[in-house]
Each structure stands twice: as structure tokens, then as C-alpha cells.
């Protein structure tokens, strides 16, 4: 009964989303207020019914209802309750349900937080999201229905959840990732709505910014969780492999990052509009492309879902409609001339555009590398297949990011429109020297092996950090007191700085862990010791463990640090009973400056085992940096300028004070009246109307 209820809820959601995609859009075109007002109600309806369907599936999982084919394939009575819930999105059908639920959740969020937007804009935005919903709810219902029953032969036991997914990291990874992917649908819908209405103004970019930041922050966390999971769960000690499925999550992130920066320019200076719209369409399109690649099996990947060309074909048609349609609309409606704005040679616009170019080229490189095996096969036939893997991506990606990090340091210092060059050079030269000297000195101080790549990476990370600290100092200098100054800086400013600092942290983490990790695989008998730096790992032996749905061999490894007892690690080798899969469970001591990583290999006779022992310096910084980035994104959303009360209060004041007030916040204390710009005024005035 419950599965039928869920099925019915999906059908209702499909019906409502069909109405949502038509009625408010027509209303906006015909200026019919009542039609436009249905947008919020319909959006809420779609969300409520998708939520009901999701709860129905989760409930059926908890009840071990193996008459539902999807549950029979992905659950088991012995599966712990927590993982039964996680198994809801453990395979294609359920994860697609989650995907659509999250899409409707974003729509719902827009309808709640858009009270200040003109009604025609809201109805267009929600209607565009409704169109995407129609496509994907239809796809869910007709090709991938998670509630499909097999009532004739009800299995008494389920095939169990893939053991790789029986893990905390991977339970929370898909929801975050989808929140990110699907979150870009909001910026997409805003862009399409703006194209349709012909109002690509500062107001449009301002509305888009917090939504883009939110999606981007989720995606950052989602990708970081995935890489963290790969690191500790696969027992291989790596954290990124440039696998197609990793790449398709990274591409929308890169374009989303470009979009965040481009939106800033469009909002502040009213330029690059066509480019910004293209990025907004691009970020969501790449998310959809990712969904296609993961779910069609078109590219050989380790993590792909179902290999089903027919499903792939349906998805491809959806892509054609959604992306093809929006790109066509873009080509027909985007403004051609960027306006006669004057770009200064050393302006923030220049550096943000450079940043955009590098990010988009990086994305294009990853897209090309990911699709290249197919391109090659299409041109040269299948006689000589090629592989494109980490060496290719690293060779091109690392220099691109190096260049971007260097420009970032300068960009923070530049001002809108024009920055005096001598000021730029005189303030940056000492910082650059300092970064290089410290980059050279740090490895010496830490008595690490001298490697030129380490010096370059450290210098870049220090350069980013130094410039951002200097920028904060410059902003605070003229204030009454230091604390006063710090507090006067807006949250958006702090968000930006924190995210940039996150990048510096990630650079350190990646470089130091890839250059200085000690990775040993050793044969150990009980009592054997292995020494890495100040740590001594003593293998105490292996014992049998019985888990809820697996049997395991667990090794006990005691670690002493500089002769003192330090801790005990217990890597396991599990054999899951339902599927017979063998799975390593690495045991890692996570530290701020180094991880101790142990994994258990195969027995080698005489109670001896092969044990993988890694000491990985600074590896945690990779995820710490990602966390800083995401937090920065969230901080920026919390900025005062996005708060309703503020705008309401402002709207009661006279025109000039609104403008100067807002600029003071935007520019975070670094405002000269010169940066006052007619575009900005226009945008604000429009927003108030």
C-alpha cells in the first residue's frame, strides 16, 4: 500500500509541475496576476508530493518490503537501520528520486525567499524550474520508477546495499552533491527568466548571487566528502583520480566558481552580462551532463550507475530540450554589445575576467579529456583506443591553477574601474618577495627535502594569504579602532577572504601530501615493527570480528611516537555476507599536520600479513580548505545586503542615501565616490520599484 501511495504522489507531482511550467509563464507573458500567483502554490505542491514519495520509499525500506524490486536489490534485513535509510539513494532509481526531491526543494526555497521580487519575475523563475521538474519527474516515473513491484515472486531476503556505500561519508555525500548540482538550477532559472523578460539588469544579478553561492557551497562540500570517502574507504590512500564521474562533479564547480565572480562584476559594474548568463546556463547544463554521464554508462568509469543505453537516450533527449533550448534562447536573446563601459587597464574587472577565462579553460580541458576517448573513437575508429587519465589532467590543471592563484593575489588589491599601477606595484612587490623567501625558507626550517614544486606551491599559498591579510589591514587602517574596523567589514567581504584562504590551504595540503607522503606496503608478522619518521608501527596480529552483516579480520597495530606509546589502529578486512564482497576498512589517525593511514592487505602465511602504512603530511588540509571555501560562500549569503529588512528600510529613505548606503556595504569600506556608477544606480532603483 505504501509503495502505491508513493507512486501516486509522484504522479501528482508530475501533474502539478506540468501546470507550473505553463500557467505562471503564460500569466507573466499576458500580465495575468492570478495566473502568476499560482506559481508559489504549485511549487509548494510539487515539493510536498515529492517529499511524500521520498518518505514512502524510506518507510518501505525500513519495513524491508522486498516486494519493491528496488528495495530487494539494495537492502537486507541484516542491514543496520541507519544504512537502510541511506540505501534509499544507494542506486539509480532512489538517487534520482532524491535528485528530483532536491530540485523541488530548491524551487520551494525560491518561492519562500522571494517575497521582494516582482511577481512576474518569480513566476517566470518558478515556471522554468517547473519545466525542469516535468522532465525529470517524467524520467523518474516512466524509466526509473523506484516503486516498481515484483508481486509474483517476493524475495524473502534482499541482495544488500553495496558495501562500499555502507559508510557515513558516502551516505551524506549524494545529498550534498545533489544540493549543489541541482542548486545551480536556481541561477539557471533566473538567467532564463531574465532572458525571456529581457531584463538582464543589476537586480537580476543581485538576486542570483546568494542562490549561486548556496549551490556552490553545497557542491564544494559534496565534492570534498566524495574525495574524503575515496581516501579512507578505498584503502588506496589517494583522494582524487580524475575519473569521469569525479570530473563531471568538478566541471559545474569550476563554472559555478566563475559564475560567482562574474556575477560580482555584473552586479557592480553592469558589464559582461552575456557572459554571466552563459555561465549560469553552463553551470546547470554541466550538472545535467554529469547526471547523464553517470547514469547512462556512456563512459567507462569506476563509479557509474546502471549501464542502460535506453535510459541514456531518454536522458539525452531531456538534455537536448533543456540545455539545447536554453542555449538557443541565449543565442537569440542575449545582449550583443556589452555597453560602452570603460575598462581600466588594471581594474578588478580585468582580473575577474582573467579568473573566469582560466576557470572556463580548466573546465573545457577537463571536458575534453573526459570525452576524448569517445572523440578519438569517433574519428579513428575503435582499432586503437586511448585512455586519458591523471597524468594528462595534472599536467594541464596544475599550471592553470598556479596562474590563477597568482592573479588572485593581485585581484584582491585592485579596485573597480581603475587601479593606479604604481600603487599596485609598490604594495605588492614586498608581499611577493616575502612569499618567495618564506616559500624557500619553510622547507628548510621544517628540514624537509628541497623540491622546487613545493617551493612554488608554498610561495603561491603564502602569496594568497599575504595579500588577503594586507587587504584587510588596508581596509581597517583608517578606522577609529582595529576592532571597529574589523567589524565594519561586511560578511560578504569576510566570506570572500575565507574562501580565498581556503584555496591557499588546499594548495598547501595537495602539494605537501603529494610530495612528502611516505607510503610503505610491508609484510608483517605479529611483533614486527616498521618505522616511519618518529612513528613506530608494531603489528600485534589479526583477530576475527563478527559485524551485523559482515565478518571481518581486524589487525591491531600499536603506534609509538618518539618512543612514547601513542595510539592503536585497527584496520579491517571485511567480507559482507549477502554479496560476498571483500572490503578493506582503513584505520586512519587524522591529524592537523599529518594522517597515519593503515590498511590491511592479504595474509602471507605464518600469521604474516601485508600491511599498508602511510604517513601523509597535511592531507587533512585539502578538506579543511574545502570547508573554509564552503563556509566563505555561506558567509557571503548572510551579508546584510541580501536581507529584506535592510532593503525595506532603505526604500523609505531618499534615493541618494540608498545608493551611498549600499555602496558603503558593498565596497566594504574601500569606497571612493568615484566608484559610484550609473549602472549601479539604475539597478538599485529598479530593485526598489
Amino acid at each position: 500500500m505504501i509503495p502505491e501511495f508513493g507512486n501516486f504522489a509522484i504522479i501528482l507531482a508530475l501533474g502539478l509541475s506540468l501546470m507550473l511550467s505553463v500557467v505562471p509563464m503564460l500569466g507573466a507573458a499576458r500580465r495575468q496576476l492570478q495566473w502568476m500567483q499560482t506559481a508559489r502554490t504549485l511549487t509548494t505542491g510539487v515539493f510536498v508530493f515529492m517529499l511524500a514519495a521520498f518518505i514512502a520509499l524510506a518507510w518501505s525500506f525500513l519495513q524491508d518490503d522486498f516486494s519493491v524490486a528496488y528495495i530487494a536489490r539494495n537492502s537486507n534485513t541484516a542491514l543496520p537501520t541507519y544504512y537502510k535509510l541511506a540505501a534509499v539513494w544507494g542506486a539509480h532509481e532512489g538517487s534520482l528520486l532524491l535528485w528530483v526531491l532536491i530540485l523541488s526543494l530548491w524551487g520551494f526555497a525560491v518561492s519562500v525567499f522571494s517575497k521582494d521580487l516582482p511577481i512576474d519575475m518569480v513566476s517566470r523563475v518558478l515556471s522554468v524550474m517547473g519545466m525542469v521538474e516535468v522532465g525529470f519527474i517524467g524520467f523518474l516515473l516512466f524509466t526509473s520508477n523506484p516503486f516498481e513491484r515484483s508481486l509474483l515472486n517476493i524475495p524473502t531476503e534482499g541482495a544488500d546495499l553495496n558495501p562500499l556505500l555502507q559508510d557515513f561519508g558516502l551516505t551524506v555525500h549524494p545529498p550534498f552533491l545533489y544540493m549543489g548540482y541541482v542548486g545551480f538550477s536556481v541561477a539557471f532559472a533566473f538567467a532564463i527568466a531574465a532572458l525571456l523578460s529581457g531584463r538582464l539588469d543589476a537586480a537580476w544579478s543581485r538576486w542570483s548571487r546568494p542562490w549561486t553561492n548556496a549551490a556552490w557551497s553545497f557542491l564544494t562540500i559534496g565534492i570534498a566528502l566524495g574525495s574524503w570517502w575515496a581516501y579512507y574507504e578505498l584503502g588506496w590512500g589517494g583522494w582524487w583520480f580524475w575519473d569521469p564521474v569525479e570530473n563531471v562533479s568538478f566541471m559545474p564547480w569550476l563554472v559555478g566558481t566563475a559564475l560567482i565572480h562574474s556575477l560580482a562584476v555584473t552586479e557592480k559594474r553592469g558589464v559582461f552580462k552575456s557572459w554571466t548568463v552563459l555561465l549560469a546556463i553552463g553551470a546547470f547544463s554541466l550538472s545535467l551532463l554529469g547526471a547523464f554521464i553517470v547514469r547512462s554508462g556512456v563512459i567507462t568509469s569506476v563509479h557509474a550507475f546502471a549501464v542502460d543505453p535506453e535510459r541514456g537516450l531518454v536522458l539525452l533527449c531531456l538534455l537536448l530540450l533543456i540545455i539545447g533550448g536554453s542555449l538557443l534562447l541565449y543565442a537569440l536573446r542575449a545582449p550583443v554589445v556589452a555597453g560602452n563601459s570603460v575598462y581600466g587597464e588594471q581594474s578588478r574587472e580585468l582580473y575577474l575576467l582573467l579568473n573566469n577565462i582560466i576557470l572556463v579553460v580548466s573546465m573545457a580541458m577537463i571536458l575534453l579529456g573526459t570525452l576524448y576517448p569517445l572523440i578519438h573513437e569517433a574519428i579513428y575508429g575503435e582499432a586503437n583506443k586511448v585512455s586519458v587519465g591523471p597524468p594528462y589532467f595534472n599536467t594541464l590543471f596544475v599550471p592553470l591553477m598556479g596562474g590563477m592563484s597568482f592573479l588572485l593575489g593581485i585581484a584582491v588589491f585592485t579596485r573597480w574601474k581603475r587601479t593606479p599601477v604604481n600603487h599596485l606595484i609598490s604594495s605588492l612587490r614586498p608581499l611577493l618577495l616575502l612569499s618567495i623567501v618564506l616559500g624557500l625558507a619553510l622547507p628548510l626550517i621544517l628540514q624537509a627535502e628541497f623540491k622546487i614544486s613545493v617551493v612554488v606551491a608554498l610561495a603561491l599559498a603564502l602569496w594568497i594569504t599575504a595579500t588577503l591579510l594586507m587587504d584587510i589591514r588596508n581596509k581597517v587602517r583608517n578606522k577609529a579602532s582595529f576592532m571597529n574596523g574589523l567589524l565594519s567589514l561586511g560578511r560578504a567581504y569576510w566570506g570572500m577572504q575565507l574562501a580565498h584562504f581556503g584555496l591557499a590551504v588546499i594548495i598547501c595540503g595537495i602539494c605537501l601530501t603529494s610530495q612528502y607522503s611516505v607510503e610503505d606496503d610491508v609484510r608483517m608478522q605479529p611483533g614486527d615493527e616498521h618505522e616511519i619518521e618518529e612513528y613506530v608501527f608494531k603489528f600485534e596480529g589479526v583477530r576475527e570480528i563478527v559485524g551485523p552483516n559482515y565478518d571481518a579480520q581486524a589487525a591491531t597495530i600499536t603506534v609509538t611516537k618518539s618512543g612514547e606509546p601513542y595510539l592503536t589502529l585497527q584496520p579491517e578486512k571485511r567480507r559482507y555476507r549477502a554479496r560476498g564482497d571483500v572490503q578493506t576498512e582503513a584505520d586512519i589517525d587524522v591529524g592537523l599536520f599529518r594522517d597515519l593511514f593503515t590498511a590491511l592487505g592479504d595474509p602471507r602465511g605464518d600469521d604474516a600479513w601485508v600491511v599498508r602504512i602511510h604517513v601523509k603530511p597535511f592531507v587533512f588540509w585539502i578538506w579543511l580548505g574545502a570547508f573554509f571555501m564552503a563556509t566563505g560562500g555561506v558567509l557571503a549569503i548572510l551579508d546584510k545586503r541580501y536581507r529584506r529588512e535592510r532593503i525595506r528600510k532603505n526604500s523609505r529613505l531618499d534615493n541618494s542615501s540608498v545608493v551611498s548606503n549600499t555602496i558603503a556595504i558593498n565596497e566594504a569600506g574601500n569606497v571612493s565616490t568615484k566608484s559610484f556608477d550609473s549602472n549601479e544606480t539604475r539597478g538599485l532603483v529598479e530593485e526598489r520599484v
Partner: protein, 175 residues
């Protein structure tokens, strides 16, 4: 050895089952962990690099070091013995390429068929830079008239300072 093979075969079977039932994720369920003795640290690093950058021919998408497929183990052993014999990296890569094709190389070789792959992104970057140059050169030309005498002097001072970049150069010319 035999036992390992049997286990490997079971694993391959399990993987095939996974694919055929169109379930999720065909990950190698665990990475290969082997103890090996090398005569030098360089050899160990070469082994690591080679097994990291050569693809397991049997797997969905993993390198030799990250796979426990039987063929990956054999190829690792082959690499190990060739390193011990003193063969160079190029010789080992040629050996693998001759038997398993370009498919086994995660770093695609530079040839007619991969020109687009290697140079496409670089060309795109150059095009982007060119576009920016054009965009900003145009607007700077527009802005020239707006330079105040003070700014003009500032610019001159800069040029004298030796901090000449192409843009300021062209700026001066056009003024």
C-alpha cells in the same frame, strides 16, 4: 598463487554480476597491497609512478596500483621484474604499449590523434587572453582622453621606473 587466482576470478564474476544486474558502482573493492623490496629509493619511486600511470586493462577505470584484478597483479610483477633487470621507464612503457595498445597509457602519447587533446586547451587559453587584450585595449583607447595631466605624469614616472608592460607601452604610443 592458485588461491589468489580463484579469488580474483570470483571477484571478476562478482563484478560482472554487478554490471549485469545494473547496480551501482563497479569499484575495485580494495586496492592492491603488496610488499616489494627494491634496490634503491629511485626504483621504488619508478615502480610507483609506472603502476600509477598505467591502466589496468581489465578494469572499469583504475590504474595497475589501484586494482586487484589478476592481470593487474601480473603486470605489476612484470614491471617489478623489468625494473630489477635494469630496464628504463621508456622500455617498460614501450613493452606495455606494444602488447596492450595506447589504451594502457593514462598519459596519452602525443601524436596526430591527440593533438587536439593536448593543444586544444592551450589554444583556448590563448584565444581567451587575446579576447581580453582586445576588449581592454579598446576601452583603454577610449579612456586615453580622460587621462589627467597628473595621471600622465604618473604614467611617465612608471615608464621611467622600468615597469613597462605591453599595455602601458601601447597606451603611451596612442597618446
Amino acid at each position: 598463487m592458485k588461491k589468489q587466482l580463484k579469488r580474483g576470478c570470483r571477484l571478476v564474476k562478482a563484478l560482472l554480476l554487478l554490471i549485469s544486474f545494473s547496480l551501482i558502482s563497479v569499484f575495485p573493492s580494495y586496492a592492491a597491497i603488496e610488499e616489494l623490496e627494491f634496490s634503491s629509493k629511485e626504483d621504488r619511486e619508478r615502480y610507483k609512478k609506472l603502476t600509477d600511470e598505467l591502466r589496468c586493462p581489465m578494469c572499469m577505470n583504475s590504474n595497475l596500483s589501484g586494482s586487484d584484478a589478476p592481470i593487474a597483479a601480473d603486470l605489476r610483477e612484470e614491471i617489478y621484474s623489468q625494473i630489477s633487470k635494469g630496464n628504463s621507464d621508456a622500455e617498460i612503457i614501450d613493452f606495455m604499449q606494444a602488447r596492450y595498445g595506447d589504451f594502457i597509457l593514462y598519459q596519452p602519447p602525443l601524436n596526430k590523434g591527440t593533438l587536439l587533446l593536448w593543444f586544444g586547451p592551450i589554444i583556448l587559453l590563448l584565444l581567451g587572453m587575446l579576447f581580453i587584450r582586445k576588449l581592454f585595449a579598446r576601452s583603454v583607447n577610449n579612456a586615453i582622453a580622460a587621462l589627467s595631466p597628473a595621471e600622465e605624469a604618473q604614467l611617465q614616472a612608471l615608464l621611467d621606473d622600468g615597469f613597462i608592460n605591453e599595455k602601458t607601452n601601447s597606451l603611451k604610443k596612442s597618446s
